[in-house]
């Protein structure tokens, strides 16, 4: 990474706290609009609770629809957090510094979006808490054999871990805001939140150790969360398209694919909306583009393997399901769009340095990836259920109703709203981390030689 600008500390503070201490013009209208969408979604949910799930497009063969597709999608997006902040931190990739917080915050909000999707999905949401091992008067323990009991525990663990992650990285920055705030009440609030941070060497050490420990401890979650989500499908012997042993690794790598792409989108948005182009340099886009080539290709390998495993058996049911997925309207068209957007358009484009170094093209390609990955989940879940079962003429397809579409839109608006509100109250780029990066890159002249000013332990 050669291309970087050394900035002095005051300028870093001013730039990165601009969104917190001031307010961009577009911020309030954007928040109002997203709130409106969230309320439209919640209103549809209320209507659905009142009338019953009949108002959705779900029917007898297709018992799971948009809600579950969306659940899997958001869990996938949430994998960005660990990928960027834990794995890149442990491997000491320097370019992660400006993107860690945005990725982690997106993780937190997308996990919240994923966790409230099952509420919409179930028939009696007011009893949803029965899947938690909470001892109540019923005296019935949840069925630990069911993936729907593993789901809340895995996703809940992940949510707690990534919230801690965000908070620990936030402490030094909260102290900066406390010091710069004018309003005494604001000062008091940030002062309470930063837990008495003074910036002593001991505090810095504890903060760094906590960050590294959390990165290491959260790694198992990285593997477990999406494996468990994939087992929601893979345990069912009655659905040929789902009953596959490759689902767990295939879902994990797919999650990283969509998650890292979402981070690239966030980077481009930060450059455009907050003008952070001094911090998110073309080099950062270049690095995430290279990472994406590796991730996308691995994902495609697993996708290919899944097909090989399915077709290798030459079982009639399996082949007819694949035929449905690829050749029948509308899944055939969606399948083509999915292949093009998730792999065949973005990956060749990332091969070009000029694309990788451009915020616009990275935004465009990663947006395509996320459209494609949403479709991928759709194409696994819906045709798997639409398949023609023996001993029944309940064959049919699935058309999402307006209620379902509004509720899906609600989850997208919810995540965007969460990010916008967060960016108002906290810096979206970690100030201390950027400063640390500057220090690491500092060079001093000793005699005739130029050497790094600090040595990494």
């Amino acid at each position: 990474m050669q291309d970087h600008i050394q900035l002095d500390q005051k300028q870093i503070n001013d730039d990165l706290l601009a969104g917190v201490l001031g307010m961009p013009k577009w911020w309030l209208p954007a928040v109002l609009f997203l709130t409106l969408v969230v309320f439209a979604g919640l209103g549809s949910f209320g209507y659905m609770m009142n009338k019953g799930l009949g108002v959705t497009g779900l029917n007898r063969p297709v018992m799971w629809g948009f809600f579950i597709v969306n659940f899997v999608f958001w869990i996938g997006i949430s994998h960005a957090g660990i990928m960027i902040s834990a794995i890149l931190r442990l491997t000491q990739a320097e370019w992660r510094r400006p993107v860690t917080r945005a990725a982690e915050v997106m993780t937190v909000f997308s996990l919240m979006a994923a966790l409230h999707t099952p509420l919409f999905h179930v028939g009696r949401p007011w009893r949803e808490m029965w899947v938690f091992p909470y001892d109540f008067a019923r005296g019935v323990w949840p069925n630990v054999r069911s993936p729907f009991v593993w789901d809340p525990s895995a996703v809940g663990t992940y949510l707690i871990a990534s919230s801690l992650f965000v908070f620990i990285a936030l402490i030094p920055d909260l102290a900066v805001i406390r010091d710069r705030a004018v309003n005494p009440l604001v000062k008091k609030i940030y002062g309470t939140m930063c837990l008495g941070w003074r910036g002593t060497p001991r505090q810095w050490k504890l903060q760094a150790v906590a960050g590294i420990l959390l990165s290491a401890l959260v790694l198992p979650v990285f593997v477990s969360v999406h494996s468990i989500v994939s087992w929601d499908f893979a345990v069912l012997i009655g659905v040929e398209g789902w009953h596959s042993t490759i689902f767990a690794p295939y879902f994990i790598i797919g999650a990283i694919h969509s998650g890292v792409s979402a981070v690239a989108m966030l980077m481009a948005l930060s450059v455009w909306l907050w003008g952070l182009d001094k911090y998110l340099r073309p080099d950062h886009f270049d690095a995430i583009g290279r990472l994406l080539i590796v991730v996308a290709t691995t994902w495609f390998f697993f996708f290919f393997l899944e097909w090989v495993f399915a077709l290798y058996t030459l079982e009639g049911v399996e082949i007819s399901l694949r035929e449905l997925q690829v050749f029948q309207w509308p899944y055939g068209m969606l399948f083509l769009i999915f292949l093009a957007t998730a792999f065949f358009i973005p990956v060749p484009m990332w091969m070009f340095k000029s694309v990788r170094r451009s915020a616009f093209w990275m935004f465009f390609t990663t947006l395509l990836v996320n459209v494609g990955m949403w479709l991928e989940r759709f194409l696994i879940i819906i045709p798997g259920l639409v398949r023609r079962q023996p001993f029944t003429f309940d064959w049919g397809t699935y058309h999402p109703s307006i209620i379902e579409i509004l509720i899906v839109a609600e989850t997208f608006a919810f995540v965007a709203l969460g990010m916008l509100l967060f960016s108002k109250f906290f810096p979206l780029i970690p100030i201390f981390d950027i400063k640390e990066g500057m220090v690491v890159r500092d060079e001093i002249k000793i005699g005739r030689r130029i050497v790094p000013a600090t040595i990494r332990e």
């Binding site: 799971w64 179930v122 029965w130």
Partner: protein
Amino acid sequence: MAESWGMVIDLDKCTGCQACVVACQSENNIPINDEGLFNQRRAIEWIRIERYWEGEFPDVKARFIPILCQHCADAPCEPVCPVFATYHNNEGLNVQVYNRCIGTRFCANGCPYHVRFFNFWEPEWPDSLKNQLNPDVTVRSRGIMEKCTFCVQRIRRTGRKAAQAGIDKSDAELERGLNPACVNACPTQTLEFGDMIDVLTAVKEGTRLPDEPKSKAGAKVKKELEEDGGRGYRLREQLGTNPSVVYLRKVDEHRKEVITHG
């Protein structure tokens, strides 16, 4: 030893008259399936008659097969329910506890026989039919799953009667009370119901069938499974679900090949 209820369905006798379907609808408080519900593919029929065609034109024949919950010993729907709304009881029944169900519909996806039904709407009956509802059966609200129970309310009632009279509930005198509604309604006696624990256990474990099965239905299964050219088989056995319902193949003198629904 507890019971393990099972059923024998002799396809050779089935005429596809749908009497069992009607009996089941009225016994179990199943809402009226009108045309709209069928078009939405949300109709509820705990037992249904599926029609299929055998042979090539012009030698083509209509066949019927009644399909109901198979009460599998290793049911795919049971382990996936997060709240134990469906589980296997010690009478071999795959029971559905309506009060526990939260409506994840996981079980419905898991069922290879497509016999689990979700209440997408609040059930409604016309005023003229409100007094017809069976007081022994819960009316299910919207948002929960339901399916064939082998008329567990009739099994329980017969058990109480048998205890009062001091006889076994499989006694021939109590048979009509014990049988599910579909079995009693069948004009050709296609369906037979009874305690088949001895036969089903032997089939599941691959051991020798019992010499004297406990019930008539069990004896029939034993005969058809043991005899050379016997007609007994179970639906989609290759999935390893171990259903408690045994089907008997249709007899067709004109056909040489053997057709089962593997």
